[in-house]
């Protein structure tokens, strides 16, 4: 932590530089061969030195873009820059006998600030952007993404304008530590600015704080304090040089990026775009899916259905990531293989999955223990069908009188008599054949 004690000098952490390079490469930005640290001067209790070490004219990453999807439509959001700076302390405005509490533990630790161009047009787009960015920084391993602890934070600059007019004066909103607050704060701020302008007022450029209790933004600093940071190069730090070798090293270490993986899932695996998008929202989930497809030996759509269906529901219930779930990809593949080769029905498979999630063992062992093996023996199914037909003369008559619904009722009876174990495809086939032997629907009864 940095308490601004006299004589303390800054030293740049190599780990922070490596992470900045990775980010620059992941968004297709330019990693600056030479970047410069500057002092941003302002007075606030979370910054005991009276200035923040940041970058101004020559940031470490310039440009790049993030691809977002909002309600099915894709959009490119341009990035202005990403710069390295030191974090400030954390202000707690709860009541400490009428005072503010300052936590300086993170003051002076490195931070990568990512700035986008004014390309976002709604709170929904801003949330989609923030979520995509959140997923990306975890994907490339430069941030744990914990928003509660402040590992990933966002500030939103909001302005309004009449259609076609230039961008209006913006306000910056701070203290947004969840995607839900980000959306609510922007929506509130848009309404506030619109009402202000409609009442003949003018938006003043300022920093505003989101108050989650009241659900509103309010002015953080008084209006007469015009912000003037008086940036100048920090004499305590020399320019940062990043060699082509260092960039190449990080490029080689970078995993396949979500955008590329999504394309591969669509083109290579034939998945619908929506499945591919959800699967690549987190690296853990995407890796799980890939491991499962490999273990099954194909069938990507069936695997995707399981990963996005039962498995994701389980993860949500347990509130864990895919790599921390109780069912390994190879284990889930073992279950899906039994469905694919007709050993168990899709319905039984869900019960087996629930048992696997509860730690009852591998799919095969559970299938045997619970006697869920599907009856695919035609002779056995025929016997059950005969029995059901004999005992449900009314439905048979209805079916033959043209009531299609009666057929479904008969299928249900057979499934029930087999205690759900009969292969439904075979039941349909045998039942149709047996009912057609005498006469089809509407035919003459003998």
């Amino acid at each position: 932590m940095d308490l601004a004690l006299p004589g303390v000098l800054p030293v740049l952490n190599a780990g922070a530089v490596v992470r900045a390079i990775r980010f620059g490469l992941a968004v297709g930005g330019a990693v600056a061969p030479r970047s410069v640290f500057a002092r941003k001067n302002y007075f606030y209790p979370d910054l005991p030195k009276g200035y923040q070490i940041s970058q101004f004219e020559l940031p470490v990453v310039v440009g790049g873009e993030i691809l977002i999807a909002v309600e099915g439509a894709e959009k490119r959001v341009r990035l202005t820059r990403a710069h390295l700076e030191e974090d400030a302390g954390k202000s707690l405005h709860e009541d400490f006998h009428g005072m503010s509490g300052i936590d300086l533990n993170r003051a002076g630790t490195p931070l990568l600030e990512i700035v986008s161009e004014p390309d976002l047009r709604s709170a929904k787009e801003a949330v989609a952007y923030a979520k995509t960015l959140h997923s990306l920084v975890r994907w490339i391993g430069i941030c744990d993404g914990n928003m509660q602890e402040g590992s990933f934070r966002c500030d939103a600059n909001v302005s309004v304008r009449r259609p076609g007019a230039p961008l209006g004066t913006r306000c910056e909103i701070k203290n947004l530590n969840s995607f839900r607050f980000l959306e609510k704060a922007i929506d509130f701020e848009v309404r506030r600015q619109v009402e202000l302008i409609e009442d003949g007022g003018k938006v003043v450029q300022e920093t505003r704080l989101w108050d989650p209790q009241k659900g509103e933004t309010r002015s953080m600093r008084s209006k007469e304090d015009a912000q003037d940071y008086r940036y100048f190069p920090d004499p305590d730090l020399l320019p940062l040089e990043i060699t082509p070798q260092a960039i190449a090293r990080e490029r080689d270490a970078l995993p396949e990026l979500p955008v590329a993986m999504r394309e591969r899932f669509i083109a290579g695996h034939g998945l619908p775009a929506s499945d591919a998008t959800t699967l690549t929202a987190s690296k853990a989930l995407a890796d799980y899916f890939e491991a499962m497809v490999k273990a099954v030996g194909g069938e990507p759509k069936t695997c995707a259905n399981w990963v996005l269906g039962e498995f994701s529901a389980l993860l949500n219930r347990l509130e864990v990531e895919a790599d921390a779930g109780p069912v390994a990809p190879v284990a889930l593949a073992g279950l899906v293989k039994r469905v694919l080769d007709g050993i168990i029905s899709g319905k039984s498979a869900k019960d087996v999955f629930a048992a696997m999630a509860a730690g009852e063992g591998e799919a095969d062992a559970i299938i045997e223990a619970k006697g869920l093996r599907q009856v695919s023996d035609a002779g056995a199914i025929e016997a059950i069908v005969d029995e059901v037909l004999a005992g449900n003369a009314k439905q048979v008559e209805d079916y033959r009188a043209g009531k299609e619904k009666a057929f479904n009722s008969l299928v249900g009876q057979v499934m029930k008599a087999s205690r759900g174990k009969a292969n439904p495809g075979q039941v349909n086939e045998i039942l149709k054949r047996k009912l057609g032997e005498d006469a089809g629907p509407g035919g003459l009864a003998s």
Binding site: L12, R34, V36, N41, S91, F96, M99, S100, R230, P239
Partner: protein
């Protein structure tokens, strides 16, 4: 050349309280500095790459490892008011 109001604004930004009677003298000194800057600006620097630092070297990086020991308690002792590990300051927002 700076006006008296600009001198006052700069003092406010730097959180320096300047007694009424000293503003004029300060204005003169600051304008003297601006005069020096103007003199330097007259030098032809076309084709000269600007330096970010007086020393023509690049930044050495330190390894990403914890090197400091935890001296939180000691630091807290030096603050006028602390609570729950926090440094207490006059309320900064209304």
């Amino acid at each position: 050349m700076l006006t008296l109001e600009e001198v006052q604004a700069i003092a406010d930004l730097a959180r320096i309280e300047v007694p009424e009677g000293e503003i004029a003298a300060l204005q003169q000194q600051l304008n003297g500095i601006f005069g020096l800057i103007e003199q330097m600006r007259a030098v032809d620097t076309a084709g000269v790459e600007p330096m970010a630092h007086a020393i023509d070297l690049t930044q050495r990086l330190r390894e990403d490892a914890v090197t400091e020991e935890d001296r939180h308690a000691l630091y807290q002792e030096g603050a006028p008011q602390v609570e729950a590990g926090l440094y207490l300051v006059p309320k900064v927002i209304e």
